[in-house]
Symmetry: C2
């Protein structure tokens, strides 16, 4: 399974029923956390996401609504006896903030926290692990800010059953064909793998655009993505405020998704001034029909 679960969909100031930004990406048995606003550890508990399974955390930028919950989560992980290493990808200044906070509490983490600084002149792949590749790219915001792209590769070749049968390859051998093996017939003749298989199906990709002003420079990162998350802090009536604060409107998010030919769009980071979210959909769907609201506690399949 490849999916994203929303833990917080609000911008700066929390409202009684909306929390600051945090999302969990699940891929097979692995969890990755993207941003970690205040209260994220409580949201993880509420939605029964197992903290212990999180191995990578990505922080897009150092506005508090995207990371004030991080130190609490890390602290709790240690108190709960975590020993598995944790990788953190974030703007470089965060390392010193965490170090200071741990030092003041005389806390030594019980696990290895490896810090990877996101630097503007060093975009690209953050890591590849099995079938998952995570990369990052800059967005345009008031302070340095990064989006993340999660790409689940398909490694298995697709067997063409008619062809395989034509060469008398037993079905028990198909899993080896999927892994690219050739087949030797009893007669000794070699059946080349690509005579009976097709290349792997295309991978699936989720792109998280963090906070950003409307910016067509993002298009190459979003192109053809299966699911794009883009902020929609304001409705169109406040497009000038969005511009001034380096945020976007629902219509702008939808426009980018449409131009990038993304398959689906998820919008979030709603300003606290809005109590109703339906107008965000009403404005974006005419531009990009396949838009959904990022709702807390909801899991969106990336497929």
């Amino acid at each position: 399974m490849f999916a994203v679960t929303i833990l917080g969909n609000n911008s700066a100031i929390p409202t009684p029923d909306r929390h600051p930004t945090a999302q969990v990406i699940s891929y097979n048995d692995q969890l990755m956390l993207v941003d970690c606003g205040e209260g994220t550890q409580m949201q993880l508990t509420k939605y029964k996401v197992r903290r212990s399974k999180i191995r990578h955390i990505f922080i897009s930028h150092l506005h508090g609504d995207h990371y004030f919950g991080l130190i609490g989560l890390i602290n709790s992980m240690s108190l709960l006896g975590r020993t598995e290493p944790l990788s953190l990808y974030a703007p470089p200044e965060l390392e010193e903030i965490l170090r200071l906070q741990l030092q003041c509490a005389a806390t030594t983490l019980k696990f290895n926290l490896s810090f990877h600084a996101l630097l503007p002149d060093k975009t690209g792949v953050l890591f590849r692990e099995k079938d998952m590749e995570v990369s990052y790219f800059p967005t345009k915001h008031r302070i340095p800010c990064y989006g993340f792209s999660f790409s689940a590769q398909r490694r298995k070749r697709r067997v063409i059953p008619e062809q395989a049968r034509a060469y008398d390859i037993p079905a028990a051998y198909y899993s080896q064909l999927q892994n690219g093996a050739d087949y030797e017939q009893k007669s000794g003749q070699l059946v080349k793998n690509d005579w009976v298989t097709l290349p792997p199906a295309p991978g699936k990709r989720y792109v998280y655009c963090a906070d950003s002003i409307y910016d067509e420079d993002l298009l190459p990162h979003l192109e053809g993505a299966d699911l794009v998350y883009h902020e929609a802090t304001y409705l169109h009536a406040l497009v000038q405020r969005a511009q001034d604060r380096f945020h976007s409107t629902a219509v702008q998010a939808a426009t980018l998704a449409q131009k990038a030919a993304a398959k689906r769009l998820l919008i979030g980071h709603f300003s606290s001034k809005y109590t109703e979210l339906q107008p965000f959909l009403d404005e974006s769907i005419p531009v990009f029909p396949n838009t959904e609201l990022a709702l807390e506690g909801t899991t969106y399949l990336i497929q």
Copy 2:
């Protein structure tokens, strides 16, 4: 009114229905916040405490469950347009942590935040304002930690109506008598204030003991207090663990309250391992009958 409202009653790791430590002291129209664990700003909203009315914040120590919510609260206050100054009393290292976090976000607070460092060699009165005096004292914990004493003075003398009537003083003059004025009769004879009034009633005092191992050195600070808050992280079965971690049990909190002849005791900071709180009362009431559980959202009058 002089009262304390509990926003969080749990120790280190939040549970689904208990939050880390935070309390609001209300005295007349003024609010003061004591400790500020993660999620305090959400708890303030939930319990309809007006953030804008908070003018003083006290942080007992730099374990995260007592201050990780502070930067978020301060940030939100600024975003909401606060202009009134805010005083913060905390261990000195907190100033640099806040400074760094604000700097990384390129945030300039819209109000004046004045930082007052709590230092072990400089205990005593933090401020006096109208009838309220706040002082601090060290507790014994794993890192430097401080308790706070909130003392509401009564300034008005108590009129003795029979005496006042005997001197023909009109009731309309009583408020001046309360403020200490003498009265001149029509005959020109002076009635001294203390012939017709009694000194002000004794003040009321709330003492917050923060985190602490069982420590009889606290007794002078608790003596005769109208309400004492003392941590009770563990039940008696874990008294050794309490000792090892510089925490207390319910029985120990009750013992201190009893030895100090406090009037009432509030216990909190319960370990996440306990789902039921009644056993804390069951253990402390035999030692100090006037014990209550610190329950989130509940306001305790200090009277």
